[in-house]
Amino acid sequence: MSEPTLDAALPYSDLLPGAVLAVEKNIEGESLVVAPDQLVAVAEQLRDHEGFDLLSNLTAVDYLGFPGRSAADRFEIVYHFYSTTRGGGPKVLKARLPETNPALPTLMSVYPGADLQEREAYDLYGIRFLGHPSLRRILLWDGFNGHPMRKDWQEAYFEAESKPFKSRHPVGHHIWAEDRNPWGSNVNYPAGFDPETWSQPVTLRPLERHSGSNGVSGALKTERIVVNMGPQHPSTHGVFRMIVELDGETVTALEPEMGYLHRNHEKIGERNTYLMNMPYTDRLDYISSMSNNLAYAIAVEKLLGEAYKPTERAEYLRVIMAELTRIVNHLFSVGTFFNDLGAFFTPLLYAVRERELILDLFESVSGSRMMCNYMRFGGVVADLPAGWLETCHHLVHERLPAKLDELERYLIGNEIVKQRCIGVGYLSAADALALSCTGPQLRGSGVPYDIRRAEPYSIYDRFDFDVVSFDGCDVYSRFLVRMEEMRQSVRILQQALKQLPEGPIQAAKALGAYTVRPPVGDVYGRIESPKGELGFYLVSNGAGNPWRYRVRPPSYINLNALAPMVVGNKVADAVIILGAIDIVLGEVDR
């Protein structure tokens, strides 16, 4: 993989001598291998002098047993930086760490948004980020033994490296998991962990600083209290917990807790062949499965090369599905947002009624309303059934524009909505970027960054649409962004339906290609999913299943901004601020 270049030719050899150790060529460009101790300096250089203001993706890879790797460079931390002002491709940094005691400095001083992703890398790989203020497990629980994404960690029941698991049926029928792993002996605890004496720490980092008495103000002695919102709370859109510290009704500190829906999607992805992962991606952000399919297909196609370039018709079908998905997602998100506001279910049903019609279209083309499993490498799985285009045409040209007008008339100007929303959940543009926010959250802070325009994928460069952004920096702006983006999606759909060509729906080479074996290399493919930047970072070792399968989940990373936005607001506002981030726990917890 690596092509060592001459020292003098290395980038930054004048500014930061010794910072860059090598330049690696890979499938879509180059990446810089940096010395871990110089990482922060290089990141500062990138941010301050080269305009790479968005740390998009941060992840770890375990190269145990990978050809050409040894114990001295077993782990690799990969960073993808983008520029929201210039657009275009990423700057990729890699830091290599040894097997024993892998540690490197945190990037939180430069990009505070590294927070959640670093915690995730620590949780799943055991990489320590020195200087991280609260390096705790995030997706798994404290009594979990080991770091499951490491290649030498084996889950009890799934002992085989790849599917199909022959060990499932050794005696000619199914073996029940509970027979193999009787309850009570299926858990190992880490050294020093005693489940009997352990209790969930509620005094978490920001809370520790604050907790305690509020002092005596006048004659009244008040006290701050810590309250769990969730995991069973209707406003958290799933099993998500916010630990909030309250002074009266005002939130003084907040800590998000997640992982209740964690199933280690990424580990499962490493055991699957590339194609088998497609139905799994449906279940990430289950509101917008078509977008997830698209992002994954784009990433794998980058890895596979030109032969798997989708056909023209397939490209159009993909764009049509992705934009319908955006409408579905935003309708749902706006609807549930009004639930959170207290307009219980009436606006949601108005929104969901239109969503149902789009889901009908999905069902008739792919066979499932939500778990579409529609895209394939090099195309899509099925062509449109008879009558589909007419229904879609009616929806896109007549019904949706009218219904969006209606929704807008009912919702946008509403005085109560304005009073509840305007100025709530303030997130400045600079903070949004620093916290790695993407999607409507970033555009609601006035940064017009849309990957469809900044680094067009598929055929988005052929369509005429506006990048929506509002600079109110509050939940109202995020809501307006979503409303307006639906209109832009309708615009794209109108153009795409008009231009939709005839022809095959899958690249010739891709037909019947069940097991693809991409060349060795790594690739990061990303799209503007309805929730933000959805990326897949894939490492191939030439085998039929990925060596590393990483999802960059937009709503998980947008949660970086939750605490800064909520603190200082009332509890009721915490609910709508969370609602305006638009999280889906299938994706947050993976």
């Binding site: 599917k163 199909p164 698991f165 499932r168 049926h169 000619g172 029928h173 199914h174 029940w176 699957n272 194609l275 088998m276 992962n277 497609m278 139905p279 799994y280 279940r283 009624r353 149902e356 009908d360 069902e363 008739s364 083309v365 792919s366 066979g367 499932s368 778990m371 499993n373 799985v381 099925a382 059934p385 008879a386 009558g387 589909w388 007419e390 229904t391 069940y514």
Partner: protein, 158 residues
């Protein structure tokens, strides 16, 4: 103090809102009284599996286990055996002696259907699969050869 204009505007708005409500009263409800009424799905809907037969009654499945290999969740188990030439079960050399689908694992992705070379396993439109216990969620070949009966209407293509 609300002026006369406000009163008029308010009345108009209330009348408008009532109009929306009354219009909704007159339209047909979109809800279906399932299970008393059949629910409609599209022809491509991916529901319970079925193993198909040829017209002459022979099973299509040749026990190649490609569906098992393609299944992302490991829901299918195929055990093949040689056909008896006198009394074949399938037209090929081999047939599926055991064919099981574990509906606790299956996610109805349809990849098995795509992988099958002889179109033996297909996903039907039947989705109601309630069972009383875990063990009966594994459907064996005899059950899968039976077309499912379910309270389902197939929607016309739009």
């Amino acid at each position: 103090m609300a002026g006369l204009g406000d009163v008029v505007r308010g009345t108009v708005q209330i009348a408008e809102a009532m109009g929306v409500t009354l219009k909704a009263l007159a339209t047909k409800p979109v809800t279906v009284e399932y299970p008393d009424e059949p629910i409609a799905v599209f022809p491509r809907y991916r529901g319970r599996h079925m193993l198909r037969r040829y017209d002459n009654g022979l099973e299509r499945c040749i026990g190649c286990a490609l569906c098992e290999a393609a299944c992302p969740t490991g829901a299918i188990y195929v055990d093949a055996a040689e056909n008896d030439p006198e009394n074949p079960v399938s037209p090929g050399e081999r047939y599926a002696k055991t064919y099981e689908v574990n509906f606790m694992r299956c996610v109805f992705c349809g990849d098995c259907e795509e992988a099958c070379p002889v179109e033996a396993v297909v996903l039907t439109q039947a989705f109601p699969l309630p069972e009383q216990e875990r063990r009966s969620m594994i459907f064996v070949k005899e059950q899968l050869l039976e077309p499912p009966d379910a309270n389902i209407a197939i929607r016309p293509a739009h």
